[in-house]
Amino acid sequence: MIPFEYIRPSGQKAALDAIAKDASAQFIAGGTNLVDLMKKGVVSPQKLIDIGKLPLKEIKEANTGLHIGALALNSDVAENEIVKTKYSLLSQALYAGASAQLRNMATVGGNIMQRTRCTYFYDTTMPCNKRKPGSGCGALKGYNRMHAIFGASENCIAVHPSDMCVALTALNATILVSNNKGERKIPFGEFHRLPGDHPETDNTLQKGELITAIIIPENNLQHSCYLKIRDRASYAFALVSVAAALEIADGKTKDVRLAMGGVAHKPWRLTDAEKFLKGKPATENNFQQAAQIAIKGAKGYGNNNFKIKLASAAITEALNKAAGKA
C-alpha cells in the first residue's frame, strides 16, 4: 500500500471543500472495497477523506418516500423495520450481499460506489481498460464466467457487483448528491454507466460530489423476491440475481418491477419484460414469456454463456416466488 494522507472532517461542508481542493483525494466510509483496491495497487489515492463522522446515517420516512442516509450501514438498512415491511425487496437484497461482517462495515453510499470484482481489474499485471485505459480487456477472451451478458462493449465486459443496487433500481430510487456549490438528484437507473468507450468511468457522479442519501418512493409492491444465484450459498457474488416486485390486483399484474444483477456494467432494469407483464394475469406462463423477452439481446463471451439460460430461469423463478407460486 502506498503512503497516503488521511483526514476526517467534522462536517459535510468541510468534506466537500476538501475534495474540491484536491483532485487526487477520495472519500472513504466503510472502506470494505476501497482498502482492498489500495492494497492491490488498483487505486492509489494520495489523500483519503474519511466521511465516517458525517451525520448521514438516518433512515426515516418523509412525504417523498423513504430517506436513507448515505452512511447508513448495510446491516442497519437490512434490519430496519420500515425497510423490512414496506421495502422488503431492499432488505432481501442486502441480506443476500457479502457477509455479516462486511454488511456491518459497508455503507449505502459505498455500496453504490463499489467497483467491479473483475479479476483482470484487480490484478495490476493484467490488461484492463477500466484500470488502465487502452491496455485492453483481459476478460473478453479470458476467464469470463462472472461477466456481462448485457450492455457490454469490446472494451469492457465487467459487471457491477452490488445486490443492493439491483433492488434500488427496481424500486425507482433517487440518489441525492452534493458538492460545495449545491445538490442534485440522480435517478438510480441513470447513475451507473455502461462501459462503451470509457469503462474507466463507472458512473455519472462528478468530481467533488458526494452521495448524501437515497430516496425510495412509496409503492404498493406487496409481492417481492430478490433471488440470487451464486456458486455457494453465502459470501459469493451473483452469477445472476433478480429483483422482482409485483402489485397484483384481481389476479392481474398492476405494477411490476424487474431488474437483474451480475449481468451488466450497471444494475440491469428489464423494462420490456415489465411492459409485457403489466396488466396481464400473474401466471407462470406469463412470467416465462417475460423472461424470454428479458433475455433478448443477451450475449455470452464463452465461460458465461450459461448465464443467458440461467437468467431466464432465474427471472421466472423470482417472479413465481414473488407471486407466491413457488
Binding site: A236, L239, L310
Partner: protein, 745 residues
Amino acid sequence: MGNHFFDKATMPAGQDRVDGRAKVTGTARFAAEHPVPELTYGVLVCSTITKGHIKSLDTKAAEKAAGVLAVLSHLNSPKVPGFDPPKPANKDEKPRAWDGLKVFYSDKIYFNGQPIAVVVADTYERALYAATLVKAEYIKEPHQTDFNANIKQAASPKGGGDDYTRGEANAWKKAPVTLEAEYIVPFEVHNPMELHAIIAVWEAEDKITVYDKTQGPKDTQQSIMQAFNLPEKNVQVVTEYVGGAFGSALRTWPHEIAAMLAAKKVNKPVKLVLGRDNMFTLVGYRPYTIQKIGLGATEDGKLTGITHTAISQTSSYEEFTEGAVGVSKFLYACPNVNTSYKLIPLDIGTPTWMRGPGEATGCFALESALDELSYKLNIDPVELRLRNYAETDPQRNLPWSSKYLKECYQMGAEKIGWFQRNRNPRSMQEDGMLVGYGMSTGVFGAFRWNATAKGIFHADGTLTVQSAVSDMGPGTSTSMVNIASEAFGLPHDKIKFELGSSSLPPGPTQGGSGTTSTLGSAVHEVCVELTNQLKQLALSAGNSPFKNAKPEGLAVENGNVLLVADRNIKMSYVDILKQHNKPELEFMKESNAGEEQKKYSMYSYSVHFTKLHVHPSTGVITIKKVVTAGDAGKIVSEKTARSQMIGGVTGGIGMALTEEGIIDHRYGRYVNNNLADYHVPVNADVPEIEALFVNRPDPYLNPMGAKGMGEIALIGYAASVANAVYHATGKRIRDLPITLDKIIS
C-alpha cells in the same frame, strides 16, 4: 455407541479438545505470533511472467524507501550450501540433491509467482510498500500451463510410474457389461485459514531458531540442516499451533528459505507471512488429473476387469507423484486389474499432497464409475459393492488386519434411509426440488511409522508426555492425552502433552493419517513402561501395602497402583515417588512397527451417503444431509474424531461443488487467487453431517487398535455428490467441481 475405547470413569466420551480454550480465546500462539525482539519484516516480490529469465532487477527505489534494511535477490543473496552440495569423498555416495525450487539462486523463472526478491523493513507496511518499488525486467519464453494442450507430453514418471497388471490387462473390454468414462479433478488449493508464516532468528552465525508453520518440525529441521549445512543441535523449529494445512505444510518451501536468507543478510529476526495470493503459487496444490476408468462385469454384477489410468501434472523442475490409481488395485475383488500413471511437466509450481491426496482423486473416478455401472446393471450401488467385496487383499494376497467396510455400508445406509429411495434417476421430488441420494466408498492405508515419546511423572501427581510432532487441527494433543490417560491410569486433566518443538523426542510428520497410530503407539508404550516401574517401586517401597504381591497382580487406576485381588488396597503414584525420595520418574522410548506389517494389509475405510436437492431450472445444488460411516479402528478421542470427519466431509463438499483453481493460460496466472473467488464451502453450504464409527479395534496395527482417519473423511466424498446429482437429475457430471452451469447446460 457402546464399545468405546474410553469407557472408564477416568475418560468421559465427550472429552473436550485440550487446546480448545487456548484456540478460541486467542492465547494459542501461531507461527507469526511469537514475540521476538528486534523483529523485522520480509515481503516477497514475485515473478509476473511464467517462464524465462530476469533481465534486470532495479531495487534502488526500494532500498532507499523509509525503513528498508535490505532487498535480497539472486544478485546478492547469501549462498545456500544445500543448493550446491559438495561431492561426497566416497565416490559411490551420491550428493544429496536439493528438492524443489532453489530460491534466489539464479535469474531463471519457472512459474508465475516465483519469488524473485524479498524486501526487509522495520515494519510490515513499509516492507509491503517497498516491495512495490522493485522493478523487474524479463526475457520471456513461451510457457505451458494448459494441461489439455500438453496432454501429448504425458510420460511415465522418472521415479517409476504406477504401472500394474493383475491377470489380464484391459479385460473389462471383453465383459458382458462394460463402462468406460473419463473423469477430471481440477487444480485445488489447500487454503488453510492460517497463512503460511515463518519467523527466522539466527542465534549465531551457525545456529538458527525458526517459528514456522509446518506439519513436521523434525522434517523442517532436517531441511534447514541440509540447506545451511548445520548440525542438528543448531537448528530449532518451533510450531506450537498450526491453523490448518491439509498437506500444504508437509515440506519446506521457498519462502521459508527466503526468510532465513533475509534474516542472515540483515542480521536480525525476520518474519515472513505469505499473502493469500501466494498460497496458490508457493505452497503446493492438488494436481490437475484426468483419469480413465474401464469397468467390466458379468450380468449379475461381478467385476471381471478394472482398468484405471491417470494423467496428472508436476512442475518443470521437480517430479511429484501420488497414488491416484492405487485404489483400483485392491478396493474390489476383481481378477483382472491394470493401471498406469503419467505426468505432464508444466510451468507451474510443484504440487503437493492435499488431504486424501491421490486416493481422493482416484476414488472420485472409481466410485463414480461404479455408480455408472450400477445403473447399467440395474443393481443398487451398495449391493454392487457388496457383490465385489474383497474379503482379502487381492493386490498383496494377504489378509486384512481388520476390515469393517460392510458394517460401514450398513450403518450409513440405514441412517440416511438409503433403501427407501426410488432408485430411478430424476424420480424423486421434494418442495419443488429434484432429490438425489448418492453414496461412495473411501479407503486409505492405515500406517505406522517410527516415533519417540518421553513421559515424565512429576512429584505433584501430573504427567508430561512429549514428542516433536505438530497438530494442524485434528486434535493430536487431545488424542495423546487420552491414550496416556488410558495407558497410565491418570485422569486427563493431570496430563500435559508437549509438542511443536524439534528439540523434543523425534515424532512423525503429521500426514498420511498416521499420527495417532505412530505416535500413539510410542505414548502408549512409554506410559505402560512407566506404570511397570511404578508397580516395581510400589512393591519395594518401605510402607508397601502389597505384601508378597507380584507385579502381575497389580493394576493402575486413577493415579494409584492397586491390588487386583482387592482393589481397595492401593498406593498412590505420588506416595510411591515420595517413599523412594524421587522428584520424578522419566522414560523415553522409540516405538516401531513390526513384522505384522508384512503379514497383513492395513487400511481404513469410509462410506459416504449424501442427500441433496437440485433446483430443476437453475441447477442450484443444496446438500441436505450427509452420513459418513468410518472404519478407523478404535476411536481414541470421540469428539475430535467426529470433528475430523465433519471437517473432511466439508472439504469434500468443496471438492465436489465449489473448489477449482483457475489459471488464465495466456498469462500463466491464477485468476481466482483469493477467498472471494476461490470458493471453499461456507457454513450455509454445509448441512448436518452425521459421523458414525464402527469403533472396533484393529488387532495388529498398534496397541490402541486405532487406524487413521484424516484422509478417509474426504476420500471418495465427491463421488457421493456426483452420484447423488445423477440420481436427482439424470445428468452425469464427470469433471469437478459440479457447478450449476454444468447441470443446466
